[in-house]
Symmetry: C2
Subunit: 87 residues, 2 copies
């Protein structure tokens, strides 16, 4: 068994209005940072995976995302996986 570290980014689908992102964008502009636009806010999930190889680690991450971590109707996810426990 090896340990892998996964970083998962969960984002709202493009077609869905991100009101939290809009609020943050408005706040950035109020703070005189007009160059920052199209803010979208999602979740970042970091976890350790105990698996025999990278492929089965990926499969476990996908299962966790599909079953629990994301709402497949409204959200997309991407993840990166690397061996070891470092961040």
């Amino acid at each position: 068994m090896k340990t892998y570290t996964a970083h998962i980014a969960v984002t709202l689908r493009r077609a869905i209005l991100d009101v939290q992102g809009k609020a943050v964008e408005h706040a950035l502009h109020s703070l005189h940072m007009p160059g920052l636009t199209n803010v979208r806010i999602g979740k970042h999930i970091e976890l350790h995976v105990q698996a025999s190889d990278q492929e089965s680690a990926s499969a476990m991450i996908r299962e966790a995302c599909d079953k629990l971590l994301t709402n497949p109707v409204m959200e997309d996810y991407t993840f990166t996986l690397h061996e070891g426990e470092a961040a």
Copy 2:
């Protein structure tokens, strides 16, 4: 002016107990996924930056993180920056 896309990951500092992460980890184990551990949950922020070059784009992201997007006492952030509007 060029457009850059930034992906920012905001995470709770290691020393701080992540109760949301603990709850998710417990739920994963209840769903028969014991191989997933050390879950930590943070924010993922995606935005476009209008800047003359990569260096000033980075500086704008750091300013936004320090002033608004993160709580420097409790949170750390990392970001990646690439040219263009693609995700």
